[in-house]
């Protein structure tokens, strides 16, 4: 199985906005969606449209994959990279990347994004979290008061 796939040298990823990325096969290993597409083909080059991921998001994901696929980088360097990677993102970047990770079926990157988001909403008020996820409450004030009472232990 694996031997015949080694013929593929370069993979072209085309983002939703038409921007094009050329990457090596080991970079997309983590992207199971892309990988399964490649596995079905038997060509030297492939180009894969990704209509659900925008170019700047895809650029970030590839940057992450490159760093983590590298065997030269130490564990510490990767952790340092992760830290800086999250630091330069806004909250809606994280939510978009989480969705992209889900679409591309990238297990560890998805977990990484979910952790970053959880860290941001931890110890925050209900209002903050609603704001964060752009949630419009559909409870009446009475309903909300009732729910708070029901799970009183969690709101102390």
């Amino acid at each position: 199985m694996a031997a015949e796939k080694s013929s593929i040298k370069i993979i072209t990823l085309i983002a939703a906005d038409g921007s094009v990325f050329e990457v090596e096969p080991n970079i997309v290993k983590e992207m199971k969606t892309v990988q399964s597409y490649i596995d079905e083909l038997d060509q030297n080059t492939v180009s894969i449209p990704l209509p659900n991921v925008f170019g700047n998001d895809l650029a970030m994901i590839i940057e992450y994959c490159k760093k983590h696929a590298s065997e030269e980088e130490t564990k510490e360097a990767k952790e340092e990279f992760d830290f800086e990677f999250v630091k330069r993102m806004k909250s809606d970047d994280k939510l978009r990347l989480l969705q992209a990770a889900s679409y591309l079926n990238m297990e560890s990157f998805l977990q990484f994004m979910a952790k970053a988001i959880a860290a941001e909403i931890e110890n925050q008020s209900v209002e903050f979290v609603r704001d964060y996820f752009q949630i419009e409450s559909d409870f009446t004030p009475e309903e909300e008061a009732e729910l708070r009472k029901e799970n009183e232990w969690a709101f102390k």
Partner: protein
């Protein structure tokens, strides 16, 4: 950008659920009032903590747990209800995929429990274990890698073992066995910790054991002139990291013969819980003589316990006391000090006379010493530092560091 933001409301539940599971249990529960979509999402969180402190009344707490367990099936359950004896709800036994179970003050049905064949990690606390409970559990649930007993009591000898046991970690802390005795045969055991009375151990087949922690400070009788501790240490002489207690230090010199174990010990890192009282020092020398391959020696001061009545501390300033320190006559350079001993660590150094003598002995004779790290109690630092830095050094590249 607005178009993108709209999409967050469409984040699929599976992704939201992913995030919720990374939140602490209480925080997860709070997401229930965000909106109707979120109302029940948190109830599937995989990160569960039942903590009585969350609740005002115990009754509410127990009701909550019971309701929860009726509605959910989890891979890991952690029960901790101090004092109150809680009965593990029947439906828990149906969770055939349960891997981790911690029961504190929570009773269970043994015959049902042993059907949970996926169990990897089991802890019991504050509970009576019935006759042979451990033996039965381990012989039925062969996946168990970690077993911990804390403040448990049992009416029989602790016994478990067979050649196909997966058990890697065993912790027995402050537990009582009415028929004192401890027999274990676990070929995969790598970590063993025991704290409690001095009881008879039979450890078989434990060739992979890397670290052992033996603490008999809960013993209430003073060490006798039998060779019980001697036998125990002999049984553990192959482990790489060994922690020993004040009781062993006082008991070992009672053994007739030389101040060492007959065979060499394999210990590379020795941790000694002591106050370096006169009664304990001969025991320290016993280990220095026996551990011929010792690389790191750690003194954890402040953990001594004397069994022969009270004894005064001898401070530097006390000057001439007329107490014969007979152990000093036994200070002789031992094999590890000139070949392997590289690091000496002292925790909670206070500068008693014995601490100074012992440290001086190690520094002025340890020819391969590289590091001596001393943690000093505040206030004592300067006095101690002056003193220690003046010691003659046997090793050329020795670094001595002080921390407060």
């Amino acid at each position: 950008m607005a178009r993108n933001l709209d999409r967050f409301n469409l984040l699929p539940n599976s992704l939201l659920f992913n995030i919720i599971s990374l939140l602490p249990f209480k925080e997860a529960a709070r997401t229930s009032i965000l909106s109707k979509k979120w109302l029940h999402l948190w109830e599937n969180t995989t990160n569960i903590e039942f903590n009585e402190n969350f609740f005002v009344r115990r009754k509410e707490f127990l009701n909550f747990i019971e309701l929860w367990l009726q509605n959910h099936k989890e891979n890991s359950i952690d029960f901790d209800t101090p004092e109150a004896l809680f009965e593990l709800p029947i439906n828990v036994y149906e969770h055939k995929t349960l891997e981790s179970l911690k029961l504190f003050s929570c009773s269970f049905i043994e015959n049902e429990l042993i059907k949970l064949h996926a169990l990897k990690e089991v802890s019991f606390g504050w509970i009576e274990l019935k006759n042979d409970a451990i033996k039965t559990l381990l012989s039925n649930c062969k996946m168990i890698e970690s077993l911990s007993l804390k403040k448990c009591w049992q009416t029989t000898k602790f016994e478990c073992g067979s050649d196909d046991l997966s058990l890697k970690r065993l912790v027995v802390d402050s537990s009582n066995f009415l028929d004192p005795g401890f027999a274990i045969n676990a070929p995969n055991l790598t970590y063993f910790k025991y704290r409690g009375n001095s009881i008879y151990f039979e450890i078989e087949n434990s060739f992979d054991l890397e670290e052992a922690y033996l603490d008999f400070r809960l013993e209430y009788e003073s060490p006798e002139e039998d060779d019980f501790i001697y036998k125990v240490i002999t049984d553990f002489n192959h482990v790489k990291v060994l922690t020993i207690c004040s009781y062993a230090l006082q008991a070992l010199p009672n053994h007739p013969g030389q101040i060492r174990l007959e065979d060499n010990m394999n210990t590379k890192h020795l941790k000694i819980m002591t106050d370096l009282h006169d009664e304990e020092c001969l025991g320290v020398l016993f280990f220095l003589n026996s551990c011929t391959m010792l690389e790191i020696l750690t003194f954890k001061l402040g953990f001594g316990r004397l069994f022969d009545g009270d004894s005064d501390k001898y401070y530097l300033s006390d000057g001439g006391d007329d107490n014969p320190k007979h152990w000093i006559g036994n200070l002789r350079i031992c094999q590890c000090m000139t070949s392997t001993l590289k690091v000496v660590e002292i925790d909670n150094f206070t500068g008693t006379e014995n601490e100074i003598i012992m440290l001086n002995f190690l520094i002025s004779n340890g020819t391969v010493l590289k590091n001596v790290n001393i943690n000093v109690q505040k206030g004592e630092a300067q006095k101690v530092q002056q003193y220690v830095m003046a010691f003659p050094r046997a090793s050329k590249d020795l670094e001595i560091s002080f921390n407060c």
